[in-house]
């Protein structure tokens, strides 16, 4: 039903939503880049946490999809830094990972992520739907919760 209310298109009063995908594995990043491009988002890619932080500052994304296990700086560290910075802490973060432990999910959520998605459990389209769902909720209220 959300598909019928496309809030991300450029034809609306809002500008095109920017999705920052922080993902080190090219298999994954290519796949998610495709699906979000198909779904009409502007997609920015980052290969690790540090690059992710850099791209966050430069592109001011609407939403960040964040992998946990990455070289240089992992997802949780990046999440902490995002939430510590007043400029970036309002950007909703969805953890997108293959670490299936429940504790990992709880940790991420307690540090300010809005959702914890296990990649293998969902088709890319389902993930895009979830992102849309989250995004629509925040854009409506205009006050994305920070933590």
């Amino acid at each position: 039903m959300y598909l019928t209310h496309n809030f991300v298109g450029g034809n609306n009063h809002m500008s095109k939503a920017i999705i920052l995908i922080t993902e080190d594995d090219p298999l994954m990043s290519r796949m998610y880049q495709k699906i979000f491009t198909f779904e009409g988002y502007e997609v920015v890619m980052a290969g690790n946490g540090e690059e992710g932080l850099e791209k966050t500052r430069s592109t001011k994304p609407t939403m960040i999809l964040l992998d946990v296990m990455m070289p240089v700086m992992n997802g949780l560290e990046m999440l902490e830094k995002l939430k510590a910075d007043p400029d970036t802490k309002k950007i909703p973060v969805i953890m997108l990972t293959n670490l299936a432990g429940q504790q990992d999910a709880e940790t991420a959520l307690s540090r300010g992520a809005v959702k914890y998605i296990i990649k293998s459990e969902h088709d890319p389209k389902e993930i895009a739907d979830m992102v849309k769902e989250v995004l629509s909720g925040y854009t409506r209220d205009q006050v994305p919760p920070t933590s």
């Binding site: 296990m69 299936a100 990992d104 293998s120």
Partner: protein
Amino acid sequence: MQSKEKKITNSLVAVASLVEAVVILGWYGHHAGLSLQFTWRWFALPLIGSLFVAIGCLILMLKRVPTRSGPFYWFMLLLVSNIGLTTMLLLEVLSATPQAEAFFQSLLVITWLPVAVLLLLFTVSYLERKSIALNPFTWGMLLSTFMLLVFVVGASNITENHIPAQSRLAWWGYANPPVRSDELVYWWIGILGLVSLILLVRAYRRETGRIAKKQLRIFVTAVAQYMIIAVTFDIVLRKVLHGNLPPMTFIYVTLMAVIIEYGIVKYGLFVISPTSLSGQILQDLSEAVVGINANYEIEFANSGVDIIFGRSMSTLYGRHINVLLGEDIMSHIRDTIEGPERMYTFEDVTVRQPHKLVDVSLTTSRVFVNGNTSGGYIFVFQNITELKKKSIELAHEKLNVERKVIERTRELHEERAKLHASIESLTLGFAFVSRDGKVLVQNHTLNRLLGIDEPFPDIASLARKMHSKAIERYCSSVLKPNASAAQHELAYEGKVLRVFVTSVTAEGGTTPIGSAMLIEDITEMKVLDRSRDEFFSIASHELRTPLTAIRGNSSMLLTYYHALFKDKAALEITEDIYKSSLRLIGIVNDFLDVSRLEQKRMAYNLAPFSLDKVIEEVIYEMKGVIREKNLTIVFDGKTLGKVPEVWADENKVKQVIYNLVGNASKFTENGTITLQAKQDGGKLKTYITDSGVGIPLELRNLLFHKFQQASGSIVTRDTTRGTGLGLYISKLMIEDMGGAIILEHSEVGKGSTFSFTLPIATIKQKNTQHLAQTVIDIRTGLQKKE
């Protein structure tokens, strides 16, 4: 003798004496045809005084001397005689007629004569210190002596026809009849007194006891003054003055009595004399003592001979010693004892009694008579049968003890060897530390673990070597009351050591004697632990990532590039790729779950929640499958909101319900699946019933096991229906959360009912919602195990 009997005896003696005196007096007076008339003379005064002194002495003896022995009685009789003597003398002095005077004088003789006899008897009994009881024999002797004296006096009266003591009448102013000297009686009495004196003086010279010597001196004094005065007055002066002399007897007799009594009262009466007893002792010895003369003839044998040889002593006198010992033994003894020594001892002599053999030891002693060696021998036999038996027993016992000691020592050595070998073969480091911190035992493993070449003497030096006081603290902490064992982990030179310390208490003791310490190198284990953690993350991440790519890309192909699949086969291939990826992901998930569960590494986020809601969610999410298989799913809505909340991990419970409903749907075609939740005691029980194929009886026990599907064999395994891990995982999860999962019932062709229980959340649990405290390693993103 009992004191009551003593009193009776005393009074009887007194009464008998009195009666006898009166009878004799009356009888004698009657025959003499006397008229007794008295007059006063001043000479009566000293006599009255003497009488009082004599009676006083008697009373004093009774009151002050408790020893009722022979000497006591003889002395008492002596005192009584003295009273009689003094009384008769007094009556004589007070007589008014010569006949009366003569009569009393004759009576005086009767009381005077026994004094010397009694003195001798007293002396003898005192020196012998033998309790001469007043037996008929003694009485007879006394009476005979007395009668003899009376007979002497009486005979002289008859033959001479006058009273011997009339010699004294002249002194009182009467006509002096022709006098016949009663010298015989005087000499008799004098000799008796002299014998007493000689005996006492001899005893005095021999006596070694200080007190006895003092007492004897007093007695000698007493008898000596008696003798001197008696001889002076009654023999010498009477002769010189021709009988013209006042009677002085009462003075020296009373004086003697007073002096003797002084000696008795001052020092008491001795009753036991070793010299007098020695004969008795020798006689009563349990050792046999035999005296033989130079010809080996028995001259003496004591009662011990009876006991040891079983022969009466009386039959032995004068017989050869061979009758006791036998010729063989005796000839051997004879050869020896005629040697140069005075005494010989034979330890092992066997004596044959009528019915038994007796082991004796024999000591022989040569008797010297006037320096002559041929005086014979004294043989002393001692029964050593018991002693010998005891010594044999003792020797046995000693042997036994020695054997036991050897055995125990060997056992101890073996034990020690075993213990040593055990300790040395331990792959763990071992040390035993005494209470005061000394290291008593340590094995090589310990030295190797700690990289030490030499054994360390105490725990303090070990602690210094390790640069950590920790190990010292561990050892002392277990010695405290109520602490028995403790386990610690210690980092040392890049190793991780696990230190297990326990207090050691000796059997039967209460205070620990020290602590035993086991040290294990767990570095490798720690590394393995860490590797296992990493395996989980790698497995979950690295396996899933490519699978996710396959799943995601095939799904995108199917979603966005439908136009590509003009060829139906190409579409099918792509769909199969997609389905395979799904199944593989499922398998990976199951495997990871099983590993976690089996290693008890599964984390549960326990919290109170409503099971209804979870069931509703599962049903909602499974709608697609249900519809696909044309199934009806029923949840007993009546319970909604009415069943209590459970205390469990919501996600895990959801996984279990997924699994059970999934299984039900797999095995059911065109049927119904029913879910129902009911309170059952402190648990909430959830039933999942299907109208499917059912499970054959023989396969039911395969349920809930790893990789088991309810199918006959591995070959017939339905590979399209998952890994067979679902029920196994569900079972482990439910059990971990405090519940149980079972197959309620099943009927082939009609369906099955599974159920699981979960604990109902308590009020306390509801109020204090448990929050999992976990720490995530920031570098790996993995949760740390605390």
